[in-house]
């Protein structure tokens, strides 16, 4: 468990958070710019001094009560920022060796170089690298210093969409292949949906919600704006590929007793774990199972909650059993439809899902 209790007075807000992050997987701090997520990360790294306590398992990095503050260079962390901050006077190899030597020099740089595909770049100077390459070197440099904890502050924010999609696979690989806890700061919801295990929503220096990403994203009771634009609302589903229908180009993915058909994409094979995203605006509901519909994904659901939001209503739909951790869907419908159907919490409905995206 990573514990961080931090308080910091800033001109625009007061930061006051108590974070409990799992010691594996990607924990994402998400929120609008100026909500304090970068301040949290800097305080975790010891770059800024907030009041409070920071502990990683049994290793304590800051404890004001015990007058303990470990300086940044004695914390076994990796830190990657938006503009990479590579050392311009060193080659790529020199940049990687910088942290490796200072951390005891036993990290296998070759493995890191392979992981991030830097083989051909080792003798280059940072000035000759593209934005995407620079960011990969920055990530590799952080990994070569053998961190116990990787902190990433909007590592993709300075990149255009093409460069982003060049880096994201490497981040997913990092996530899959290393047992390294990552704290990731972003204001891009698509990065959250793709990478996150544990989600912390921040607003004006405070934690608005925190928990497993599927649980937090399926909540309807969050203050408006905390999750970005309203039409971005949607859930993520961790599933497994059960079947490949090559004739129609479809995959059947299963999760928690339910199944969905999705368009095949990438080189996904049967048995593989995948993550899918279903946006609330792509889900509609019916009282009876629709007959002869073009929508191929229709699931029986239980209406758990209704959240009125202007002229629309956001529905939280439980799939299958009534377990607390069961998968859920969100559906955004018009208030008119809601009234016409006379929807109430507890109703048994059928959800029609028009769009499922594999991440």
């Amino acid at each position: 468990m990573i514990e961080a209790d931090l308080r910091l007075e800033r001109a625009a807000f007061t930061l006051d958070v108590a974070l409990r992050l799992p010691e594996r997987g990607v924990s994402t701090l998400f929120g609008p710019s100026g909500c304090g997520k970068t301040s949290v990360l800097r305080a975790l790294a010891g770059l800024d001094r907030a009041a409070g306590r920071v502990a990683l398992g049994n290793e304590v990095w800051q404890d004001d009560a015990a007058r303990l503050f470990v300086p940044t260079h004695r914390r076994a962390l990796g830190y990657v920022i938006q503009d990479a901050a590579l050392f311009p006077h060193l080659s790529v190899h020199g940049n990687l060796a910088y942290g490796q030597r200072r951390s005891g020099g036993h990290a296998a740089v070759d493995a890191v170089v392979d992981l991030l595909g830097l083989g051909g770049l080792m003798d280059r100077r940072p000035a000759t690298l593209s934005g995407g390459e620079r960011q990969r070197v920055a990530i590799a440099r952080a990994l070569a210093s053998q961190p116990r904890w990787l902190l990433m502050d909007e590592p993709l924010a300075a990149l255009d969409a093409a460069r982003k999609s060049e880096i994201l696979p490497y981040l997913e690989r990092l996530h899959r292949e290393l047992a390294l806890p990552i704290v990731y700061v972003t204001h891009a919801l698509d990065e959250v949906a793709r990478l996150t295990d544990h989600l912390v929503l921040m607003d004006s220096g405070r934690v608005a919600a925190a928990g497993a990403v599927s649980e937090v994203l399926s909540r309807t009771d969050l203050p408006p704006g905390v999750l970005g634009r309203a039409d971005d609302a949607g859930v993520v589903i961790d599933a497994q590929v059960a079947e490949h229908d090559a004739a129609y180009g479809l995959l059947r993915i299963v999760f928690g007793g339910a199944a969905l058909w999705v368009g095949e994409g990438g080189n996904v094979s049967v048995g593989q774990r995948v993550r899918a995203r279903v946006l609330a605006r792509d889900v509609s509901v019916a009282r009876q199972r629709p007959q002869r519909s073009s929508v191929i994904n229709v699931l029986p659901v239980m209406l758990e909650q209704l959240q009125h939001d202007g002229h629309t209503v956001l529905l939280r739909l439980g799939l299958g059993s009534s377990l607390e951790s069961q998968p859920r869907l969100l559906a955004r419908i018009t208030r008119k439809s809601c009234d016409a159907l006379g929807l109430q919490a507890g109703d048994a409905l059928f959800a029609q899902i028009k769009g499922v995206a594999l991440m």
Partner: protein, 225 residues
């Protein structure tokens, strides 16, 4: 050129080299502090460092003489400690030169340090480099152009000084008689050919070092592949 002229050239080179060395040793930490200071007194420190640029050298030389002279507080202290006297000695010239050329060394260094993004130093800290390590492995290499400019300006400015030298060192051949004073002497004695030769040496020297500096400072971290 006369034998005296050669002595003056050698003395000037020695004075400039020693002063530059001392200036780099003292000026680098000073510039680093000034570049990172957020103290309310920072403008005062900046002004004090810049003073020799605006003060007439004779004023600086005069106060140094008052301070370091046999009746001056520093002079008396030095005599009490058995360190001898500074005015009209080579040592006095070095002290005067260091003060006089201080801004020409500190300012380029300070600007070079200020140009280093804070993110670069923080990145080094997250890669386990302590403060001193960060300074030597990141700040100094990145400030290389500023270091070079500071050395060249410090050296050249010391070679070219006159007023402070005359006040502090006088005109003792082989001990305090440097190039600029030698030229002045030649002109005073109407030895224009000798004055010409020495002046030409200085003009060529100044041109050469400045060109060398601009060539070396081109493309600090060259976009070489």
């Amino acid at each position: 050129m006369t034998a005296d002229d050669w002595v003056a050239i050698r003395l000037t080179a020695e004075l400039a080299a020693l002063s530059t060395l001392l200036l780099l040793l003292l000026g680098t930490p000073l510039a680093w502090r000034l570049a990172r200071s957020r103290s309310a007194l920072r403008p005062l420190w900046l002004a004090l460092v810049a003073m020799p640029i605006v003060l007439p050298p004779t004023v600086l030389g005069f106060y140094l003489l008052v301070l370091l002279g046999p009746q001056g507080p520093v002079g008396q202290m030095m005599q009490a400690l058995g360190l001898g006297r500074l005015p009209f000695t080579f040592g006095g010239l070095v002290v005067a030169s260091v003060l006089y050329s201080l801004p020409f060394v500190v300012q380029p260094l300070q600007q070079a340090f200020e140009a280093i993004p804070e993110a670069m130093m923080e990145a080094a800290a997250t890669l386990r480099a302590g403060a001193l390590d960060r300074f030597f492995s990141i700040a100094l290499p990145l400030a290389r152009p500023g270091l070079l400019t500071a050395s060249v300006l410090g050296f050249a400015h010391t070679v070219g000084e006159f007023g402070v030298v005359l006040m502090m060192g006088g005109n003792i051949p082989g001990r305090t008689r440097v190039l600029s004073v030698a030229i002045y002497d030649h002109v005073e004695s109407a030895e224009f050919a000798d004055a010409h030769r020495l002046s030409a040496v200085l003009v060529l020297f100044a041109l050469a070092v400045l060109v060398a500096m601009y060539v070396l400072n081109r493309e600090p971290h060259g976009a070489r592949r």
